[in-house]
């Protein structure tokens, strides 16, 4: 029932072709797939599985239970940004079986030929996914990816120090927050924030506008205490910072520990994203990876993930199992109107480097 809340298929911005197929045409291949995974051909399972995932994104418990059930040992490494994941895959050598890139990064990886096509017959539990999360523009027909979690990028703040409630990215620039702001350590998100504040798109490729955003950020720098994509909640909870830019799930976690913490999407739209499970080219254990993905799609497993890291779950069956407290947390499952206007990141091609360069420049200014 809550699934509908999140609403809309990701929209492609910046001139990419519109979605070709209506969502939902895709039918789960196996109608009666068993929750127990009884059809899994255990003889084809490998001993190990290498998972490469964002930090703070996968409860240990979930992995342990998978290990117990299938006798497959899961190694996992973490990354803090999509760019880092891409770099690792491009470097080759590091043979991961499952990676969790976001929307635009999936598109890049596909275009770079870095991904394997998924054999969906091995992922019957995909039927639990809400239609609105499937068949995204960045991977029409979900040939290479299936959704893992979705969420937003907004403003986290501490009500004790931040009054009135912030409404705009611009609030981060207020002089009273000198040294009290945390930002994601992510070139696209941080540059995107400034672009939005200036009234541009997060996916701007025009050099002049990017320059402008850079200048804006340089003004912000005195307020910035730290760049942190991994665990910005730590800084918030320790009251090291009062306000900042974060992923919604991080904010939700902070709110569980301290009721003074709040999260809003700014009036400049904020960000919307969806992270996906993919199998990189040359993965040594593809079959096991698909079994693993299928396992993650079990409602009770997905619910466990969505409770531990309260981002939006694309698994509608799982959402039903969630605590009301989590389901009703507006940080995790924001009102549809707010969500609708939040802006997606898309691949900006050559401009990627400008984003990185300007971000470096911002950090090195002083």
């Amino acid at each position: 029932a809550c699934g509908g809340q999140g609403g809309q298929a990701p929209q492609q911005q910046g001139g990419a072709p519109a979605a070709q197929q209506p969502a939902g045409e895709q039918k789960p291949a196996q109608e009666g797939a068993q929750r127990s995974g009884a059809e899994v051909d255990r003889s084809k399972l490998s001993k190990e599985l290498n998972l490469f995932i964002w930090t703070e994104y996968m409860p240990d418990e979930v992995l342990q239970e998978f290990e117990k059930e299938y006798g497959v040992k899961v190694n996992y490494d973490t990354y803090s940004s999509n760019e880092e994941a891409l770099a690792k895959l491009q470097a080759g050598g590091a043979l991961y079986d499952v990676v969790v890139p976001s929307d635009y990064m999936v598109q890049i990886m596909i275009s770079q030929g870095l991904l394997e096509e998924l054999d969906k017959s091995n992922i019957p539990n995909l039927k639990n996914a809400g239609k609105e999360y499937l068949d995204p523009p960045y991977d029409p027909g979900n040939r290479y990816s299936v959704p893992y979690m979705w969420g937003t990028v907004g403003i986290v703040y501490n009500k004790k120090y931040v009054k009135p409630e912030p409404t705009s990215w611009g609030d981060l620039w207020k002089p009273e927050y000198k040294g009290r702001v945390v930002l994601l350590d992510d070139s696209r998100e941080v540059m995107g924030m400034a672009l939005q504040l200036l009234g541009y798109s997060k996916n701007e490729t025009d050099r002049a506008k990017l320059e402008e955003a850079k200048k804006k950020l340089i003004e912000l720098l005195p307020n910035v205490k730290a760049f942190d994509s991994d665990s910005p909640k730590t800084l918030i909870l320790s009251e090291e910072v009062w306000i900042g830019q974060t992923w919604n799930g991080e904010a939700a976690l902070a709110m569980q520990e301290n009721p003074d913490i709040g999260y809003v999407l700014p009036k400049e739209k904020g960000g919307r994203w969806q992270d996906n499970l993919v199998i990189p080219k040359g993965a040594p254990h593809k079959y096991t990876a698909e079994v693993f993905i299928n396992y993650l799609y079990r409602p009770e497993v997905a619910a466990k993930i969505a409770s531990a890291f309260p981002y939006g779950s694309p698994n509608v069956e799982a959402v039903k199992l969630l605590d009301a407290k989590i389901r009703q947390n507006a940080a995790s499952y924001p009102p549809a109107d707010k969500l609708a206007q939040a802006e997606w990141i898309t691949d900006v091609g050559e401009a990627t480097e400008l984003y990185d360069q300007f971000f470096t420049e911002v950090k090195s200014s002083k």
Binding site: E48, N50, L51, F52, T55, E56, D60, Q64, N75, Y76, D77, T78, S80, A91, G92, G93, A94, L95, Y96, D228, D230, S231, T234, L235, L237, S238
Partner: protein, 275 residues
């Protein structure tokens, strides 16, 4: 006798030109060196998860640590890599130190330059250069590549330490052995090796320490399933507060200290014994 002079006299007589100041300064340096360690140890026994108030004694973080497979596995990886790297680099470094002390050959200076690279260039350069190598020959990143990297930098340090020992080694001892009728083989095993051994051991110890502690080179050369303890710690530290890290530090400190005490004991026995 002016007052100034009298004061200066007193100072010279007792203070010995700021000896006292030096002592205080040294005390502060030790405080600086040990404060963070002390903090970690104290908080590893503190019940509270957050904050710095001492809320009571507990061993729960040690229990949690003992159950944390990720840490244990990383520790195991580190140990495996360190043992392999120590053995291999000690053998290579020692052999090379002997070669340098005993042989003349073309390209000696160049080779020596290469050996010094890891000591004089920032680690990050070695890290990325090995990454470039491994990725261009398509070698799968993992414990093997980490071990190769560690062997490469450790052998340089082993080389330096053993070379210093060999430099102090009195070659007349070898001559004496041969003079007494021992052939090269007997001379090496009965005289040279036992005498250079402490240097080799010191080199091995250094290699082990460097390997177990390495972050940067490992960062670039590691792959799936090959997370070492420092990298594991790196990712944990990034999430901030975790008393398990405190517990881990305390355990590591205890292990280090006992190793040092042990080494000291051995050394002492050696001294009263032989060397």
């Amino acid at each position: 006798m002016s007052a100034v002079r009298a004061v200066r006299r007193r100072r010279w007589g007792h203070g010995r030109s700021g000896e006292w100041l030096l002592r205080v300064h040294a005390g502060l340096v030790y405080l600086f060196l040990y404060a963070p360690i002390a903090v970690l140890v104290v908080f590893s026994f503190n019940r509270s998860r957050l904050g710095v108030n001492l809320t009571g004694f507990t061993l729960q973080w040690y229990a949690a640590l003992a159950k944390n497979d990720r840490i244990l596995e990383a520790a195991w990886n580190s140990l495996v890599v360190a043992v392999v790297a120590t053995l291999a680099s000690t053998a290579l470094g020692t052999l090379t130190a002997f070669a340098f002390a005993r042989h003349r050959f073309a390209g000696k200076t160049f080779l020596e330059g290469l050996i010094y690279v890891p000591i004089i260039l920032p680690e990050i350069i070695m890290g990325i250069s090995l990454l470039v190598l491994f990725s261009s020959i398509g070698l799968r990143l993992g414990l093997l590549t980490v071990a190769i990297a560690h062997i490469t930098f450790s052998m340089s340090f082993v080389f330096v330490v053993v070379q210093a020992r060999l430099h102090d080694f009195d070659r007349n001892l070898e001559r004496a052995a041969m003079d007494l009728g021992a052939d090269e083989w007997q001379t090496f095993w009965k005289v040279t090796f036992p005498l250079v051994f402490p240097g080799i051991l010191a080199g091995a110890l250094l290699a082990f320490t460097l390997s177990v502690d390495d972050v940067i080179v490992t960062f670039f050369t590691t792959g799936p399933g090959a997370t070492t303890l420092p990298l594991q710690v790196y990712s944990m530290v990034k999430f901030g507060v975790s008393p398990e890290i405190n517990a881990l530090s305390t355990v590591m400190l205890a292990v280090t200290m006992s190793l040092i005490v042990l080494a000291e004991r051995l050394q002492r026995r050696k001294i009263s014994g032989g060397l």
